[in-house]
């Protein structure tokens, strides 16, 4: 019987055909860990008596949750991270100002290729699905992966989403991915791999594919992956060391899916996730007139160059409202450089927006650019639970970069189409 892309990747890794429901111990091709957890995994390994990593050459460390030290404590933490990296001999270490967001720059730098299997300490590693790589998050157990080489996972069933149709003006992939969280039932998606394919995929670049793969896990998916195609290869050429080794692994025509869904991109209005959960999604017309104080564009969901361009399209020649502070975080060093090259950062600065260091931006718990109790934020972060941006007494709305930029200009939640 045929296999889905996820089943194929896991079968390759364990060296035999696997089926949904099986518990396996696959050794990942790469393990990514983010700055905040480095000190913790070192402490755990020490407590367990483990002195060396199972394979340090497969470990990549990103500095993104705290890309610039904000106080003495964080400077000390960063110094500890450097010592720990040296102690274990981890070569793929990206310090302040190198790389940027760990869910994105490894793709830019050619670490991530179609058919790979990655385990990571952070939920949004599913971004790697944008280039056909299977990324699965581990939390506490990343220590086990680092020390023992693997950890148990259950082979998931796959839900296939065939994308059709075209985006309407002012509607972005973020709107689609948010609408998907309510159109897909959480009970259906729970513990499954979500696989994207279909005729509309040809119009969605790797940036948009990252956004697509970022959101399904908020309703319980184990992972998300886009079936790689020629445009994936085109994006990766020049980024990987040996392009001749790139191959397109796809699901078999007779693969067994839990469900196959046809999904039309032609939705009619921007979608906003209202507090307190990312799946509390409504059409923007129901939220008009809500005052905002804090706005943010960036994160692993929407910090790409495409997102920077969408933002500039709305901000160009306009000013951020006096009652709003708008923070923009290009996700990676490459994106920051490209945004500067294209003159986008000039547009942001002239509009009165703030640019912060590449990485997670405020979305990593509000350590940078937090909000105060009682304030309202509209942003492109991944989650809107109370406390996500510092205070538990704030109100967080999630939307596309265009919607956030338009709202920052008017000072109220605003449909961006009036500025197009």
């Amino acid at each position: 019987m045929g296999q889905t892309l996820t089943e194929k990747i896991l079968s390759r890794v364990v060296g035999r055909p696997v089926s949904p429901g099986e518990t396996i111990y696959p050794e990942p091709d790469l393990i990514t860990v983010h700055d905040w957890y480095v000190v913790n995994f070192d402490k755990s390994l020490q407590e367990l008596g483990i002195k060396k990593l199972y394979d340090a050459s497969k470990v990549l460390i990103a500095t993104d949750h705290e890309p610039i030290a904000l106080n003495v404590l964080s400077a000390e933490r960063q110094r500890n991270i450097r010592k720990i990296v040296a102690k274990y001999g981890i070569e793929h270490f990206y310090d302040n100002g190198r790389g940027g967001h760990g869910h994105i720059f490894p793709m830019e730098m050619g670490y991530i290729t179609p058919g790979m299997f990655v385990l990571a300490y952070d939920t949004h590693v599913t971004n790697y699905g944008a280039v056909g790589c299977l990324g699965i998050a581990m939390i506490t157990e990343i220590t086990e992966v680092l020390g023992c080489g693997s950890v148990w996972i259950r082979v998931p069933e796959t839900i296939r989403i065939n994308l059709t149709g075209k985006l309407k003006p002012g509607i972005t992939i973020r709107d689609i991915s948010q609408k998907l969280t309510i159109d897909l039932e959480a009970d259906l998606v729970d513990y499954c791999a979500v696989e994207f394919g279909g005729p509309a995929l040809k119009d969605i670049g790797v940036d948009g594919r990252m956004t697509l793969c970022n959101t399904p896990l908020e309703i319980g998916a184990k992972t998300a992956i886009v079936e790689p195609d020629e445009s994936t290869l085109k994006w990766l050429k020049g980024r990987v060391k040996d392009p001749s080794k790139l191959s397109l692994m796809k699901s078999d025509p007779d693969a067994k899916y839990k469900k196959v869904i046809e999904y039309d991109l032609g939705i009619f209005e921007p979608q906003v996730a209202a507090p307190p959960r990312p799946d509390n999604v409504v059409g923007i017309s129901t939220l008009k007139g809500i005052d905002v104080h804090h706005a943010y564009i960036g994160s692993c969901a929407n910090g790409s160059i495409t997102d920077m361009r969408d933002t500039a399209l709305i901000l160009k020649g306009r000013k951020v409202n006096d009652n709003v502070r708008l923070i923009i975080t290009p996700a990676t060093q490459e994106i920051a450089a490209q945004a500067a090259h294209e003159g986008l950062t000039e547009i942001f600065a002239e509009a009165g927006a703030l640019l912060t260091a590449p990485g997670c931006g405020p979305c990593s718990g509000g350590r940078i650019g937090a909000m105060a109790p009682g304030e309202v934020s509209i942003n492109t972060g991944t989650r809107n639970d109370p406390g996500r941006l510092g205070t538990t007494e704030g109100f967080i709305y999630l939307a596309s970069p265009m919607t956030v930029a338009a709202s920052a200009i008017t000072g109220q939640i605003t449909d961006p189409r009036q500025f197009l």
């Binding site: 086990e144 148990w152 009970d187 307190p276």
Partner: protein, 173 residues
């Protein structure tokens, strides 16, 4: 560890948040893992006195997406700290793993279980066989238990003791 729990039912609805309802959010960023601390804040977002009302062996019964949110283990460690069992209609993947890692006996995919009991009912749950009995109503329901390897991890006390055994068997120390 016995996998049969007998005690009172504490029933909750859908979508309980792992950080806001099950515990204090600060515990996640503090990486607090001490059971004696976390059990004092179990379910504090819903009832700050919950930990004073329950007894070991009592069972939390809840609806869909129990412990939803960013998968932090602290809320699940709090339940383990009070030695309670857990029966839910569904639990998202991150919290599913964390419940195993916390060494918390639980069952999921128990469709309709919230209709099978009320807070205060006397329950008996066998987490190995999946048998759910309401001794007050004199009814029972058969669910699918967790697979044996995961139950073994729970019986061993969760992730920490299990990885210690794995490390020893691999000769890593």
């Amino acid at each position: 560890m016995s996998m049969i729990y007998e005690g009172r039912c504490w029933k909750f609805g859908d979508n309980l948040a792992v950080d806001a309802d099950l515990t204090k959010k600060e515990f996640a960023s503090q990486r607090e893992t001490r059971l004696e601390i976390l059990r004092e804040f179990c379910m504090c977002g819903i009832d700050p006195d919950f930990h004073k009302k329950v007894s070991p062996g009592d069972i939390i019964v809840a609806g869909k997406r129990f412990a939803q949110g960013n998968p932090h283990i602290q809320g699940l460690l709090g339940i383990r700290g009070l030695e309670l069992g857990l029966v839910v209609e569904s639990i998202p993947r991150g919290s599913f793993r964390n419940a195993i890692n916390a060494g918390l006996p639980f069952m999921t995919k128990c469709e309709g279980v919230v209709d099978e009991c009320d807070t205060g009912d006397l329950l008996r749950v066998n987490f190995e066989t999946g048998l759910f009995e309401n001794l007050t109503r004199k009814t029972s329901k058969q669910y699918v238990p967790l697979e044996a390897s995961l139950l073994q991890t729970i019986a061993q006390g969760g992730w920490q003791p299990t990885i210690e055994k794995r490390i020893a068997s691999m000769g890593l120390i």
